[in-house]
Every structure is written in C-alpha cells, then in structure tokens.
C-alpha cells in the first residue's frame, strides 16, 4: 500500500484493526484519545467490539475478560491511566491471556501534563504491578515503526500468551508522518478460538482462567513456568537498531522519540567528523544487554539519552558492567530535547574520551 500521512494515534489503532483486533476497551486520555476515537468509528463499521469503559480499571478488566474468551483484544491509555491498570495487568500476567496495550506516555508524576515523556520506563519495563512478571515492551521511534510493532505485538502476545506493551510518547501519538499500513487480516471465527479459551465447555472439560494458586508450591511452579517463558522471550525477541556503530568511539543509547532525536544529533556529529554511533533498543523487555555489552568492548564511552530522569540507563549500566563510563542526559516533565541540544552533550562526552 502507498504511504499515507498518518497521525500516530490513528495509525496504531488502524494497524491493530488490520492485525485482526476484535475488541477494544479504553477510556479517553490525552495524548492518546484519538486512538479511542478512531476505534469508536471503525470497530462498529466492521462489526467488531468497541466500548468506552467507565475507567481504566474497568477497561483493563474488560480486556482481561475478552482475552479470556480467546479474541485479539487491546486497550490504550497514557501514564495516569496506565497506573490504574497495574492490578489488572498483574492478573492478566498471572493467568497467561494474550493482551496488547499501547501506552502513549505523558509528563508526570501525578497529573503532570500531557506533553511527550518517557517517564514510565521503569513502571512498564520492570513491571509496575505486583508479583514476578514482565510484559514484552516494544518502543517505536516513527509512525511506521508504531504501526509495525503494533501488528507484531498481537502476534507475540498470542505466541507467548503474554502482555505486550507498545511504549511510545505523546509526540508519536500526536504527530503525523508518512507511513504505510498493512493489509486487513480477517478476524478469527468463534470456532477458531484457542482451545484454552472460555467458549463454553461444549463437549469438553471446563476451561478455567485464573491467577490464583493458593498453595505456594503450586504458585512457585507457575512462577517458574513464567520464568521459563521469559528465558525463551529473552532468547528470541530482542530487537534493536544500530546506526554508524562500526568505528564509533562514543555510543549513544536512546529509545523511541529520544532515539529518533539522538539519530539526528549523531548524523550532525558525524558531519563534524566525530566517531559517534547510535544504539536504539526497540524491545525494552527483553532488553538487548548482550548487544550493548559487545559494543561496549569497542567504544570508549556510552551516553544514554532519555526523556526522563534516568531509567533505562540502569539497564545500560547492567549491560556495560563498568567496562566504560556511562553518561546520562535527560529532559523531564514533557520537555522534548532538541537535536542541537543532544549534539552538545555528544561533543562534551566526546571531549572526555581517553
């Protein structure tokens, strides 16, 4: 299909529809609302389910219910709304139903503001809900990537019966950019729903969707099963993008919008003859530790750029393990760093190369 000029929120909503999303439950919140609005128009047209829930708490539990029935289902929200989903997400993780959530982050903490931010990295990547679970987290940097990762999210969610969060920020949700949408995928028929799903115990033993294991030993067995699944995910689903890292002496690491901005800065730096490369993690969980560790062998210094007070930087440090110094530059509260600004940081870091 030809490229169209697409708004991020509309793009991922339409991408979800084309990926066979059968039901959407959500609650309005800036800067994500256009996704809900697009769903409210398109889903009924297609005879699918759209429902504006009474709250994000209800929305995630409606998603939980629909996912238990074995359909492709999603919700989307932004920071404060996502905080209200933490219990529900933990239940979903605890009962292994596939769910896709798009989080269009805004400035915080608290009500904060509606400007673009990456302040919820820890919440989403480390698991803001209770208990040992990790959602797969995908971080797009362009509208095209937002579309592609949303489609991928549905496949991964089903493959692993896990939560997949597409983690973006207000600028990706609000901006328009040329991008290409996938072809429409048909939705499953009722009879095609997975065998574990709650479809009514017709001629089979009952299915149960539950996150309770009252006996700690059984719970531990389940926990170990989840961990085993995480091992697989860590082995198979790491994704990232590198730019000009071959001869790089300074490695810039940034994700999502920060990564996109850093990329402009890196090319500016290259024009100035500085040997700088960019590593942009696309899967935040599983985090590409080894890939960064390997690069850390060859660079002299690492600079992490985030639109927060320093969150992913801990994962970068865990990867670098002290091999080279890891610096950090962050803007917070909804401030989007400008390429020149990041370039300045690159130059300073470069000066300190030994």
């Amino acid at each position: 299909m030809p490229k169209e000029l697409l708004k991020g929120n509309v793009a991922f909503a339409e991408a979800a529809i084309r990926a066979g999303c059968e039901a959407y439950f959500g609650y309005p919140i800036t800067p994500q609302t256009e996704a809900l609005e697009h769903m409210s128009l398109r889903m009924p047209e297609l005879g699918r389910v759209f429902l504006q829930a009474e709250s994000e708490v209800a929305a995630i539990n409606m998603v939980y219910g629909a996912a238990s029935a074995g359909v492709r289902v999603m919700s989307s929200s932004s920071s404060p709304g996502v905080s209200l989903m933490m219990e529900g997400l933990s239940y979903i993780a605890g009962s292994e139903v596939p769910v896709v959530l798009v989080d269009i982050m805004r400035g915080g903490p608290g009500l904060g503001n509606i400007a673009p931010s990456q302040g919820d990295y820890n919440q989403i990547v480390k698991g803001g809900g209770h208990g040992d679970y990790r959602p797969i987290v995908l971080a797009p940097a362009t509208i095209q990537e937002l579309i592609d990762l949303t489609v991928l999210a549905f496949d991964l969610a089903e493959k692993y019966r896990a939560i997949v969060v597409v983690l973006a920020d207000g600028s990706l949700g609000q901006m328009m950019e040329p991008a290409e949408l996938p072809k429409m995928k048909p939705v499953r028929t009722f009879s095609e729903r997975p065998e574990w799903a709650l479809t009514g115990a017709t001629g089979r033993d009952p299915n149960v969707i539950s996150s309770i294991y009252i006996d700690p030993n059984e719970e531990e067995v389940f926990n170990l099963k989840l961990m085993e699944k995480q091992r697989q995910i860590e082995a198979q689903e790491k994704r990232w993008r590198v730019v000009e890292t071959d001869d790089a002496e300074l490695l810039v690491v940034a994700f999502g919008t920060a990564g996109r901005i850093a990329q402009s800065s890196v090319s500016m730096a290259r024009e100035m003859g500085l040997k700088v490369g960019l590593f942009r993690p696309i899967s935040l969980y599983p985090f590409p530790y080894d890939a960064i560790a390997n690069l850390a062998e060859n660079v002299k210094r690492v600079l992490v750029v985030e639109m927060n007070g320093g969150q992913m930087v801990d994962d970068v440090r865990l990867a670098v393990e002290g091999r080279v110094p890891v610096g950090f530059y962050g803007r917070m509260g909804g401030v989007v760093p400008l390429p020149d600004e990041v370039l300045e940081q690159i130059e300073q870091a470069y000066k300190q190369l030994t």
Binding site: L5, P31, S171, Q174, M175, Q263, S265
Partner: protein
C-alpha cells in the same frame, strides 16, 4: 534543506488544516515531513497551532523552539511566536485580526489582511489559505502548484465546490509576499 513552520490561530480558523495541506504537498513531492499539533487543554482558551517540518532527510524532533517561519492568525499567537522566529525568518501576520505591528526588525514580516481578502473572494473561511499562499511564495520550498495539487486531493468533500476559490485565495496571498515588508 530543513524548514520549520508554525501556523497558529483560534480554533476554527483552519490553522491545523493549512498545516496538513502543506504536509500532504510535501509527502506527494518526495520530501520528508512531520506535522505536530497543539493538543489538550491548550484548546481551551481557544487557540490551535501546528508545527510542520519539511526536510530532504529523516526528521528527528517533530517540534522546534525556533521556527524558520510562522503564520499568526490572532493576537495571542503573535505574542507567543514573534519572539521565537529564527533571525531572518518569516512572520506572516493576519492584520484583519491583529491590530498591532510586530516589533522585531531582524525577521521578514509579511502583513496580510487575510479576512478582508477572503471576504472579497466571498468565503470568510479562506483566510488560512491566503496566509499560506503568502508564506509559501516567500519560502519557495513548495510551489503554489504543488500545494494546489495536494489541495485537489485532500479537500474535504463538502468543500469541493470551494476548490477554485481556495486556489485563488493562495494566489492572492502570494502576491502580497512580494510587497516590501517596510511598506506594509
């Protein structure tokens, strides 16, 4: 090549549409482009603006601090953006709604009585295109023809009848781009 344009006015004046039109034209002429709107409670108070970035290479940030060109369609917009325009940048002012003159001397100012012109053309809501015409004529990044082509493709059905008028509006605006700012 990289041009950052901000178009700002009251909601309903068509600032966002003018920006999108520009973005479509860019897309259809092989340029990289991003369009970034104001959103949320900024709407309250009633102003709406968007940032359009045109470039021949991948675009990083979709927002800028100091745009190379700005169209202001009301007084609050003038007050907000005049100080931010890059040195030697362009400031297009809708004098029909802005009863004061920009103070800066280090930028190019184009004064356009857009509403009057639009009314002459019999359609008040064309003011946005008059202003866009003026800006693009001066900028040159995209030709009026290119924007006109985009307009043909993307004008909402219910306004098709106004297509010709829209093109005229841009042309009228373009003329004023040649006027010497001083004399304006």
């Amino acid at each position: 090549m990289k041009t950052e344009i901000i178009i700002s006015g009251f909601g309903g004046q068509g600032a966002l549409f003018a920006g999108q039109l520009l973005a479509y034209a860019a897309l259809e002429n092989g340029l990289e482009v991003t369009w970034f709107p104001s959103y949320g409670p900024e709407m309250r108070g009633g102003t709406a603006h968007c940032t359009v970035i045109l470039s021949d290479q991948e675009i990083g940030s979709p927002v800028v601090k100091n745009p190379s060109a700005v169209i202001v369609m009301n007084i609050p917009s003038l007050e907000k953006y005049e100080p931010l325009v890059k040195k030697d940048g362009i400031l297009v002012v809708n004098t029909s709604l802005v009863d004061r003159n920009p103070g800066r001397k280090d930028i190019q100012v184009i004064l356009v009585p857009a509403n009057e012109i639009a009314e002459e053309l019999g359609e008040k809501r064309l003011a946005n295109l008059v202003l866009l015409g003026a800006l693009m004529e001066r900028l040159g990044t995209l030709s009026l023809e290119q924007i006109g082509a985009a307009l043909k493709l993307h004008i909402p059905e219910h306004r098709r009848n106004l297509l010709e008028a829209n093109l005229k509006a841009m042309a009228r605006g373009a003329k004023l781009a040649h006027a010497d700012p001083a004399s304006a």
